[in-house]
Each structure stands twice: as C-alpha cells, then as structure tokens.
Symmetry: C2
C-alpha cells in the first residue's frame, strides 16, 4: 500500500516534494536532534489524489492518518478528545515551494466543550484553556468554515465594551466562556450546524481545508506570478501543540539566523512573551526585539543561538525559524531558508565562503542574477510609502523624480537651468532627443519596449516608463489625467523604470553601489564562467560604465544612436532629403567628422578590448518627422496661408511618404540600406578606420569589429565585406598604419540561421540579434505584440514567457543552434556571440552557454548579472555532465 502519511521522524529534508517544505524541515530538525514537538505529515500526493477523486479524501489516506494519530498519542502519552488528558494539535499547510496565500495554521485542534475542561485541569489554568478554545473556534471558523474574521472580533469587542475593558488580556476565564458561547452561536447561524465537537471530525475538516486552500484565489495568483506548477499540491502537517501562552516563562517568536536586510551575521527577529503564534501576526501586541530575550530568558536565548548556529551549519544557509517557549523549554516549529534582500544575499554568500560553510561555487550559484538587478540601478527606497497612480511598461530600469514637462524644448531649457524634469509624451520621436537628454526620465502613454523612447532611454541609461495607457495626456492644457486625478505641468512625479510604476510626488531613492562583497562574488564568478561578457554601448560614457562593471568588450555599438544627437540630426536629415548621390555625399562628408569622433571615443574607452560596431540599421524614415504630424501641420498651414513654410513641409512630407513603409521592421533597413546607398556605409567604415588609425598612431591598441546587420543571404554579406575591406585598406594606406580588424554579421533573420554555412564563408564572427530573430521567428512585431496581445497570451498561458524577455529555446533557440553548427562546420574558429537583450537575461545566458557561444553582450548595467549568470550556467552544466 502506498504511504500517504509520514511521522516527522520518518522524513528528511530531501523529501520536500512529498512532505512539503515545512514537513521536510521539521523531519530534518528532529533528525539532527533539535527539540521539535512530534507530529506527522499527510503528503502532497494525498492532496493530488484529493483533487483527482472529486475533492474527497480517500479511505486509505484517512486510515493512515488515524494510524499516525495513534502513534502520536502514544508518543505524547495524550489522546485526542480525551477530556482527562487531551492531545491538542496544530494543523498547517506546507507546499514544496513556500507559498503565501494558502491556509496557514489552525492551533489547538482537539478542543471541545469537554476537553477544554480537561486542559484547564491539567494545566491548572482555566483562563488559558478557554482562551485556547476560543482561539481554536475562531481560527477553525475562519479558515475551515469561511466565517469572516471580523465577525469573531466583533464578538470580543462587544464583550470588552460591556465589561468596560480595553485589552484582551483583561478578559478572564468567564469572559472567554461568554465569548465561546457567542462564537458557537455564530458558527451555528453561519453554517446551520453546531460547531463540530468530535476532534477527529475537526481534524479531517482541517486537512480538507488545507487541501482546498491550494486552489484558493490568492494561491492561484501567486503560483501564476511565480510560475509554480498547479500540479504540485500541498502537504498537511499535524503536530502536537506546545504553548507559548502558559505564562511569563513562555513565549513565541520568529528569528533569522542573519540579518535578512543587510546580511550581517546576527540573530534578527522578534518575540512575544506569553503568547501564541498568531498574536505576533495579529499585531495586537507589539513584539519585542529578539535580542531582548538575552536578558529575559538567558538560558533559552543561549539555546536559541546555539540552534541557529547548528541550523546554519547543517543547512549551509541563513535560516528563518519559528519557535515557541513553553515554560522555559524551547521548541522549534519551523525552519526554512530565509528570504533576504539582494544585498543580504550577496553578503551572506560571500561571508559563508569565508566562514568555510560553503564553497565559492556554491556562493556563486546561490545569488539569483535577477535578484541583484536592483543593486545596479537607482531605486525607490523599499521602505518608503508610495502612492502608485499608474503602471506602464518597465522600459528602462532605474528610478527618477522631477517636475513634469510636456514639451521637449522646455525640458531642455529647464534641465539646463538645473531643474529636475520628467518628460511626459504620448510617444517620442527623434525630434525630442534634446529634451530626453536633459530630463531625469521619460514617461510615455504609447509604445512598447522597443519604442523610440524605450530604446533611446535604455541607450542613455535613463529611467523610462512606456505605454502607460492609464494616463491620458492633454498637450494643449499641459496636463495628464489618471481617472479623476489631474496632474499638471510642474507637478512632481517619480517613475520607476524597473517596475513601470508612476508615483505622485518625490519619493526617497537609493543609489547603486557595488559592495566589496558583490565585487568579490563577481570575481569568483569570473573564475568559473566560460562565456565572455561584453556590453552593448553606443557612447564612450556607456563604454566606461560597462568596463567598470567588468565588460570584456563591446558586443554591439549602434551607430544610428549617434545620428540622433541634436547637432547631427539636421545633417542626417539633409542626407536623407538629398535627391542625388552628390547631394547625399555632401551631407555624409559632414557626418564623417562626427562619426570619427564617436568611434575614437568609444574605441579609446575600450582600448585593448574588441568593439563590435554595427553599420547603420534602422530605416531612414526613423530620422524624419512623423507623417501624421506633418499632414496636420500642412492642413493648418494651408488654412493660415503661410506659403513658404507650407512648401518646405510639403517637400519633407513627400520624402517621408516616399520612405514610408507598411512594415518598417521588414523593409529597407540594415544591410539593404548599405547595398542601395553604399555611400552611407562607406562613410561609416571610413570613420571607423580613421578613428582606429588615429588611436593606433598614439600607441593605443584597438580592435574594431565591423558588423553588417540584417543579412538574409550570402551575396549581401559578400558584397559588403568587399566594401569594408576596400575602404579599410584605403584608409590604412592613407594613414600609413595598420590596425587589426574583423568583419562579421548579425544573425537576426531565420534565413540567415538556415544558411549560416554560406554566410560563415564571408564572416569572421556571428552575433545573434535575438530581438529581431524573435520577431521574425514568431512573426511578432515586438511593439505591436507587447501592446496588443502578448500580455493576454501570457495571462492565458498560451505562452509561458514573453519571448522578447526570455529566449524561446524551442523556436529561436533551435535556429540559433542550427546556425552555430552550420557556421562552425565551415569555419571552426568562428566567433559567435549574442547582442540581443536576451544577452543579459539569466536563463537565456544559460542557453547561450549550452550551445557554445563565445560571448554574451548586454546593457552595461546588466554586465554583472550576465557575469553571474554565465558562471552559474557553467557550474550547473558541470554538475549535470
């Protein structure tokens, strides 16, 4: 017969899936000799059967439960329901993965009108016994019988009022008896049944209630958010009661073995004298700092610190424990790995290595890369009380506050005057760049994670909240509305680009610092990882940040962002408006100087390291004003009769329309531009090599890697490789110096993956552009998908993840693997990396390690995360192989 019920002493920590976390750890503590009240666990498999069999507990499981109960009675020498020597138990849920929202605890189960008297006699404490009973009815009534908590509280308040008391502690045994009678009436009225007096019935009902709570609304939501499978089920722990409410030598509390906020090695927690567990939660009495126990109960405190040390040594991790002291004797009711802040996680992992508790490998594996993201950006003080008025997409991480401004020109003026401003726009265009530059952050009501605002803000490392459609902007009135709330120009808001939150007013913020421990941990990570980590950076400033964070090169330098500068944009527009090649070349000549300076800056900042420079990628119309705005302007100008401006605008509109595309993502961009307008790429390549040569002359070692974007067939690459080689040779000859360089391609089109063997013949390196590759593999336009249907898809489990955030291994990953195999088949030493945003996402980094990439490249602020994730991938892979 299958075993559905385990005595605590039969279990071990390793049996978490079967016994749940709480049950497995109680078993483990008994195993290592810690004082744990005896009990047993009904397994998660029993829960699964409960649901399979139409929400009924099967007979065999009930039998095993009562067998276990009998054994518990023997061990404690008490008996459930025996008025002379009643056994009381607690019933607690315990899933394999800790999960708030489920039924927590029923204490004192086993009490009824008779056993309560027995308890009074055996403890000699009538008030205590009746207090226990009323607590039991209250908890049972609430969690098993679904009677609102307030209804019970109202009854106590009524009695206190009648008796003129302020505090619960003033109530005596008779008062509690009065309360109990009223409680029982409440139960009768609510359930049309008497409060169950049979303790076995109580037990079965409680177990069922735990099973049911697995599928209550809060638990389902929690599982969805945390991606916990619905099939796991919960276990139920039935444990002999110990009482913290038996006088001033009793108490109850929770403790962390280290400070969960800072990671300091010190016992941290709180306790209450003469109380049962839920009193701490209820917040009726203010708990005391655990350190006060040292004076109040010196023996117990010493014992507790010993237990903490033992548990840490045993579990090799910081523990979060619950304990009860009954008449001077310490009992442990729970231990689990304690939740902690990112900073604490880092410090604890590093400290534990130094204490010899864990290895460096374990320390590296223990810190979640996603968790430490928060340490790398300015953030809203988690202690602060904030009023979130709206939520948009978390488009560029970090937090900022400022006076809101709707006009980019005004943002620039005020910003230059030193005022902090947040630029609020429906969406941004290249014409707004000067405003974004001077703003603390950007908030838009339209556009997704790759909208102009998002891309530009991420590029500048500025916080940005995008597509916040809850706010409706009135540009004329210079205000926005959220429901009834009107926020006007000049009002202060705070935004958090890591969470998408928009907050009214200024909130306290915390600046990022890499703690010495974090640096040490990353150093260890570097020892283990196989993947190299580069950064995506478009400016010397970004490059420097990336280098400080440990980047070993630039994996993607987007030259188009250099086109967006306020001094360059008019020249870029001049180039685009050019109607002949000669006119275009004139404008390009002006851009050459700008680009040379750009490249010189970034190459110098990355001296001794490789810098992958991608030639112009976006469609040209991205550099021109928006067609719709122009049409409106033109209609207005016609009415106003301003012939000259009208004509100019009409010219621009004509060009905008000529360049306009139905699906710009799939249109004239990337290498297609370079092929149709070779003079643009020629200018860029010339600028790269002028910069490289000039640095080389100053003795600075540079490694430019010229990258051709959006290649879908080998002839494109062949042609452009020739172009690059020709210009490079020409410039190096003119400058009379040689520099090392290589030429490669982005792999971001399915066909490029499939024909990677052909491409490899003309490429020294591949770099996966997984943003675009995801778009084409899925047929999803990211902006449209994230705005229109991806949230629904994820909500309804059609997709488990946003494939633009977590790399889709099944589809996109398959194509990547194909490309790596085909490419290396032709060219063994082909360098292969990734520069899509996935390059900084831990699970995607793991996949990149698995398929043998050489490097990942991500935003500068994600470099430490990628270093950690790469190390974890290598360590996990080593383990598994």
């Amino acid at each position: 017969m299958k075993k559905y019920v385990f005595q605590f002493k039969e279990g071990r920590a390793s049996m978490k899936n079967l016994l749940g976390g709480k049950g497995a750890n109680l078993a483990e503590m008994i195993h290592i000799g810690l004082p744990v009240p005896p009990g047993f666990t009904v397994t998660t498999e029993a829960c699964t059967r409960y649901y399979k069999e139409g929400q009924k507990i099967a007979e065999d499981i009930l039998e095993q439960t009562f067998d276990a109960l009998r054994e518990l009675e023997q061990e404690t020498g008490k008996k459930l329901g025996n008025p002379d020597n009643p056994l009381l138990v607690s019933v607690r849920s315990g899933a394999p993965i800790s999960m708030p929202g489920m039924m927590d605890t029923i204490l004192n189960l086993g009490l009824n009108d008779e056993t309560v008297e027995g308890l009074a006699r055996s403890t000699g404490n009538r008030r205590f016994a009746h207090d226990c009973y009323r607590r039991f009815i209250q908890m049972f009534g609430n969690v098993v019988l679904n009677i609102e908590h307030e209804r019970f509280e109202d009854i106590i308040s009524g009695v206190k009022k009648r008796r003129g008391f302020a505090l619960d502690t003033e109530l005596g045994a008779e008062d509690w008896q009065d309360v109990i009678e009223q409680y029982k009436n409440l139960v009768l009225k609510h359930t049309r049944r008497e409060f169950p007096q049979d303790p076995r019935e109580q037990l079965v009902m409680a177990i069922e209630a735990v099973f049911r709570s697995w599928n209550n609304h809060r638990a389902i939501i929690y599982r969805k958010i945390n991606k916990i499978p619905d099939e796991l089920g919960t276990a139920v722990n039935v444990q002999a009661m110990v009482f913290g409410n038996m006088g001033e030598d009793s108490g109850t509390g929770v403790a962390f073995t280290r400070n969960p906020a800072t990671g300091e090695k010190e016992i941290y927690g709180e306790f209450l004298l003469n109380a049962q567990g839920e009193d701490v939660v209820a917040g009726i009495r203010t708990p005391r700092n655990i350190k006060d126990m040292a004076a109040l109960m010196p023996d117990v405190y010493r014992q507790l610190t010993d237990v903490c040390a033992l548990l840490e040594k045993h579990y090799k991790d910081m523990q979060d424990i619950e304990f009860t002291v009954e008449k001077g004797k310490l009992y442990l009711l729970q231990t689990r790995n304690g939740k902690r802040t990112a900073a604490a996680a880092v410090k604890i992992a590093v400290d534990m290595v130094k204490e010899g508790l864990i290895s460096k490998e374990e320390a590296v594996l223990r810190v979640s890369p996603e968790h430490v993201v928060s340490l790398l950006h300015r953030r809203i003080d988690p202690e602060a009380k904030v009023e979130v008025i709206a939520k948009g997409l978390p488009a560029s991480p970090g937090a900022a506050w400022g006076h809101i401004v709707f006009d980019p020109d005004e943002a620039e003026t005020l910003g230059q005057q030193g005022q902090k401003v947040i630029l609020v726009r429906t969406e941004t265009t290249p014409d707004d760049i000067h405003g974004i530059v001077m703003a603390q952050g950007v908030l838009t009501s339209r556009g997704g994670m790759t909208s102009h605002a998002a891309v530009v803000a991420r590029g500048m490392g500025k916080p940005c909240v995008c597509g916040c459609d809850a706010i409706s902007i009135d540009l004329e009135k210079e205000e926005f509305r959220v429901g009834d709330l009107v926020v006007k120009k000049g009002d202060i808001i705070s935004i958090d680009g890591s969470t998408g939150q928009v907050i009214l007013g200024q909130v306290p913020m915390i600046d990022p610092v890499l703690s010495p421990e974090f640096k040490e941990l990353l150093g260890w990570a570097d020892e283990f990882r196989v993947l190299s980590v580069r950064a995506n950076a478009d400016t010397p400033e970004d490059a420097r940040v990336a280098r400080d964070f440990g980047a070993e090169g630039i994996g993607l330098c987007r030259t188009e962002h250099m086109f967006m500068g306020q001094d360059r944009l008019p020249v870029v527009q001049e180039m685009i408006m050019a109607e002949t090649k000669a006119e275009r070349e004139k404008a390009l000549a002006k851009l050459l100087d700008f680009q040379r300076q750009d490249f010189e800056g970034i190459l110098e900042a990355m001296r001794d390291l490789p810098v992958t420079i991608r030639l112009l990628d976006p469609p040209l119309h991205e550099f021109l004003p928006n067609a719709e705005e122009l049409i409106q302007e033109i209609a207005e100008l016609k009415a106003a009769g301003d012939e000259e401006t009208l004509k100019r605008k009409q010219e621009i509109l004509k060009r905008v329309k000529a360049l306009g595309e139905f699906n710009p993502m799939l249109g004239l961009r990337g290498c297609r531009l370079g092929i149709l307008y070779p003079e643009i790429y020629e200018m860029q390549v010339r600028a790269i090599f002028l910069a490289a040569c000039s640095l080389a002359k100053r003795g600075i070692k540079v490694y430019p890697e010229v990258e051709i974007p959006l290649v879908s067939n080998d002839n494109e690459l062949k042609l452009l490789r020739e172009l690059v080689e020709n210009i490079a040779a020409q410039v190096m000859k003119e400058e009379e110096i040689k520099v090392d360089y290589s030429i490669g391609t982005m792999i971001e089109i399915p066909r490029a993956c499939i024909t990677a063997d052909e491409l490899a013949r003309y490429a020294d390196f591949f770099s996966f552009g997984t943003n675009d590759l995801t778009q084409t593999t899925y047929g999803f336009s990211r902006d449209d998908a994230e705005a229109k249907f991806l949230p629904y898809y994820i909500d309804h489990k059609i997709l488990t993840e946003d494939p633009f955030i977590v790399l889709d291994r099944r589809g996109v990953g398959y194509l990547m693997k194909t490309a790596v195999g085909l490419g290396r088949g032709v060219k063994e030493n082909l360098t292969v990396g990734i520069c899509g945003e996935h390059g900084g996402e831990p699970s995607s980094v793991e996949f990149c390690h698995e398929i043998g990439l050489d490097y990942v490249s991500c935003s500068p602020y994600r470099v430490p995360i990628a270093r950690l994730a790469a190390a974890q991938a290598a360590l996990k892979n080593k383990k598994n192989s």
Copy 2:
C-alpha cells in the same frame, strides 16, 4: 592535346554545349545525310579560354583552326586566298543557347583584291564577284571593325545618286568596284589601317569578333533577362560559302516545318530569289511566301518538303531552318527547334503524339507551363502595334481597356451605365471596392504585389497594374502625367496585368479559350501527376471557374474578402467600432447571415470536393479608412466648423489609431485575433456549419476544412481547435445532421515549421502559406521589398529570383521540408498542401512534388498551369530516380 576545333562531320547534336546549337545541328544534319556545305566549329571552350587569357586566342587553338582550314580546302578543292580557285567561307557565332544580340554572320570571307578577280573568272560573273566583295567589306567593316552601317550605305547611295539609279540591282560590276574603293578608304580612315588583304588574318579577326560579341551590351542584357550563365561562351562556325545570288535558279530563305503561330502542319516561311542571306534581313526586297517555291522551283520545293519531314522525324520537334539554293541545288545552313506561340506549342505537342512522333509524356514535358499562362487570360493581340507609356508591376494578369476614372464612385456610376472604365488610384482601400467591382481593371501608382488593389483584383480576376510610379496622379485635376504626357479623365488607356504595361488608347485583344488540344494535353498531365491541384477562391463564381479549369477542391477560401463587400463593410466597421463585447456581438449577428450565404454558395459550387476555409486573417484596421486621410479631413472639417461630422470622424480616427500598428504584418491578426476576440471566429465557424448542414439536408455532399491562420505555437491551435469543435458540435446538434469536416492550420511562420510536430497533434492538415512564410523567413515585407529593394537585388544578382514569385528552396523550402518531416512523424496521414501564390508557379510546384506535398492550390486561372507543372515534376522525378 585538347581538341578546340571540330569538323562538322565529327560532331553530333548532343555536343551542343561544346559546339553551340548551330554547330551541333549542322553536324547532325551532315550525319543524317542532308546537304550541308562543309566546315568546322571552334568550340565554346576556346571562347572561355579567350576570356581567361586576356582576350587573346591561344597559339594551339590557332594551329587547330588552320589545320581544320586545310582539311576544308582539301574537301572543297579550293584554297583560301588562292586567286585561281579561292575558298570563301562564312563565319557565324553559335552559343549553346540561341541568343540574339551576338554577332551574327560574316559572309564571303576570303575575298580580297586578288581573289575577287579569281571568283569573277571561276564564276564567269564579274558583277556577282564584286557584289560579294563589297558585301564582305561592309559586313566585316561593321561587325569586326565597328564602323557604322550607315556609313557604308551612304557610299552606295552616293554612287546610285551620281549614276541616277534607284535600285541596287541597277548597279553593274564597275559601280561595285567604285563602291569597293570608297569602302576601303572608309576603312582606312576609320581604323588607320588598310582593309586586311590576308584571308587568314581576316579569319582570325572574324573569330575574335565573334568571341567579343559574347560580351557586348545587348548579349549581356539578354542573358540576364533569360538567366543564361555568363560562363557558357559561344562557338564559331566556319563554313564553305554557297551562293544564293548566282542568278534566277538561286535563292535563299527561312522555313518552319509547321506554322509557329497556330501549330498547323504546313511549311511556313519566306524566300528570295537571287539573293544572299542578309538581303532577307535588310528588308530591301520583300521576300515571297515559301509556298510560291512550289511553282518557281518545283524540284527544290519537293526536296525541301522532304527535308522538313526528315528533320521533324529526326528531331521529333518543329524545326526552324535556313537554306540556300545555288544553281538549283539545295543547301541547309541551319536547323533548330522553332520558337512558337503558346497555342502552337500545345497543338504541335498534341499533334505529334497523334502522329506517333512523341509519347504523351514527352508532349506534357514539352509545353512550358509559364508559356501557356497567356492562353488563360484575355491578352493584347501580339500582332497589334502599341504605344507603351509606362510599366508597373504585373499584379493581376489579363488585359483590359477603358476610359480612365480617378474616383471610385464615378467608376461605379459609369460602370453601371455600361461604360468601360479603368480605375486609376494612388493606392486603393476597402472604401474603393465598389469602384473596382464596376471597373474593367485597376492601375495604381503605389503598392506592390500584395497591395490592396493587387490582392482584390486577383481575387476578382480583374487585370491590375500596381506600383506604376512613372505616372504621377493629380486627383484634383483628375489627370495623370508620364513625363510630358498628360492623360485626363475620360481618355482611353489599355493595361496588361500580365506584363505591367500601360498603353495609350484602345488596343485589340484576344479572349482566352481552352483549345481542344489544350484540354487533351491537360488530361494527359492528370494521368501523370501525383500532386492534387486545388484553387484559391473566395466566391462561388471563382469556385466555378476553378472547377471548370480542373481544380479538385478549394485550398484557400479567404473569408475576409467577403467582409469587403459594399453591403458588408459598414457592418464590419460597426463590429470594429464596438466598444463592448455585446455591441460587437450585435454586429457579428448581422454578419453571420452574410457569411452563411457566402459559404453555402462556395460549398455548393464545390460539392463533393474539399473546401479549405480560412478564418479571419488580416488586422482589423484594414477594414477602416486610412488614418492619414482622416487626419486631413479632420483638419479641413475643423476649418469648416462642421462640428457633428468632425466628432464622428474623430471617433473613427481614435479607433483607427488604437488599432494602428507599427508592423501590421507581424501584429494583431490571424489566430491572434481569434484568440482575443473569440466571438469573431465563433460567428465564422457557426456560419460555416450552418451552411454545411443546410446543404447536407439537401443531399449535397460537402467537405469543409476549417483553417486557423498564423499559428506560431501549439497552444493557439489547441485553443482554437476546441472552439471550432464546440461550435461545430453545437450547430450540428441544433440542425440535427452531421457533416464531415476537418480542422487544420496555415504554416506560415518559421516557428510553426520548427514546431510542426507539436502543431500536428492538433491539426488534420497543414497548408503552407508561403507568401507570409517567405516574408518572415527573409525578413522581407513583400510590399516594401518589391517597391524598394528587390528589383535592385535582382538586377545586381544579389538574388537570382524574386522569392515571392519563385519559392526559395534553400531557406523557405528548408523550413517546409522540416515541417513536413516533423508533422508526418507525429501524424502519418497528415494532409499537407500549399496555398501561397507559389502554388501556381512551375518551379515551386516541382519542389512541392519533391518534398511530398499532397496538393498545391493556386488562383483559378493558374489551375491548368499547376496541373501541367505537377505532371512535369512527376515525370522529371521519375526520370531522375
């Protein structure tokens, strides 16, 4: 030593690659005993070496040439350059694939100041000899020495004028001597060298000129258009002269063994008495019908008809021959398979089967599917002289003429009055449908092969020329301009949607008929093909046409085209403008009736055959007016102060903007719509099954196949399969009758191909949507690519074909093959077809056969082409295996 020169008698027809077509066929004719003047061929490999070795003929090749010459001298008993008995030769080019534009012929080579006298003596005809010499200098001067043809003609004109003659025939021997002197002076002046007197030098120069002509501009262009590899090279044929200009018992001519226009079995051609070959071409004298020879030269004519019969029997194909008669003796100078019209090709193939010349298989293989396209549409009479004023994209085949109209309302009105109109628009939108319906054809200046106009016109089977950017439309003035030409409303134009031509005025047209021979040939094709052939049809009319053309089912019925009807569009817009599900359902209820009728019509038309009905695919904004136009209207309404209309338009604009997408191709469309708005798909599925049940009740067998578009992961399909199954079951229960049906999916996203094993679990059939699959595999938006960079790519050989026309086997094909393998791996009996436009393109059909698809589906008018292509694929495959 490698052999670079072959005597005619050493060759065979099979050596075409080495000897060129002309040389190989001369050899073959000698082999079968026909009278061919002797000669030799310098091979194509000699040409290749000529280019490899810096445009120089190698010594060993020259040696072999002179050896061959010696042999020729022995055979003829004459000697090149011998004044007593001069050998004269012709030098002609001959590439492996017949190619106009290359150097054609030099006759009479070997003449110089001395041999001309020898020729005069040996023939006893001074005038003849000097005429030959001047002809030689003229041809040599023109094609070898690059002297303009007119310069020579001017000299003859001068002499005639001086002598008061009108015709060349009036000139005597002395006059020709005069001409020759002037010719030689012209050569000296032009080349600063005397005309070469050494016949061997003449020969080498002529051979070099043939080699050079391989790379002249016209030849290069021709090869590019006809996709002939540049590496083939041309051979040179040197042949002893025979003379058609030796009196009234001599002559020269060309003949086809059957009528190349109609295919009738009759000798067809023309000839000239007393003339050399180039006189026919020069057009100085009007040639006579070949049949006149029967009376003029009865013996020679009988001989000629015998030769024609023999050649057809030998080559098993209609031949195009050149011949010369010298003093009553017939010589053949060339034979080749004759070019013919599509109608003739079909008739000749079928007739030859009946004559026992070829098998049915050969007949089927002999007719090019692309060639017969012209037989399936109305077309411009190829005999007509037309003035092409512009060329656009051939967006929907067929030809039409009409008065031009710029306004769809006017097109509707005039059309209803019975006037023929051509609708001319910048681009069309759904609002223009009523105008398109009543027009003969559509011409747009913007948009590609999948633009609204193109798709709608193809759907209606109406001619359409798209993206004709040479015309600039002025809607206000109601005119368009092409360069200086202004074409006004009411003017007549003709358009040819098969070629993209726009022609001023009305031109004669030919209506399509399937000839009995064509029907017979298609019947044979059906015996051989493995692939089933279906049609893409959206209306009962289209379905009937398709069935008449032999379609075995509907492979794609696009339900959205039914939404575009003028009576439906307002209801569709009402549905889209709905702000609540309830409002949307109200509009959908109205659409249900329309759709039920649509489906009933198409299912009835295809009784007994399967009909694949695709659920709604395009983004909803395609059914709304254009945002830019609305913005302009609104700006104008604001100025005009029409508050009410303004408000309504603003509402629509709001919705248009809300639905607007950055990349609609990759946005909220296909099954994504069906998932977010299940009520739309529910209505469509209900309509399908109401229609099917109603027909079933009338005893009509129907096989609806419900198709889910744009699936990229299995959960989408799983969910929608359930939806379809539920509604189907519900309707069949209500209607109390069962119908057979199946559920499948379009495979049009790379990820669908990669995860086809997962999809196959929820699909009874796959249908490749290769239009979209090509877009996503290449990262090409078809509209943008064809408008912006594909033409450049093809011109510059970056791509050899437009992948939207010819299926890209390397990329898209790889994904298709992967999908077929994965899908059938899971479900052996999975039906797999293709419904992209490639389904009617012969090379793509061949690929579909090779990867084992069950059917191809194409536009109704392409069904015969697909039947033929499918048969050819099966026959070729059988041959190769």
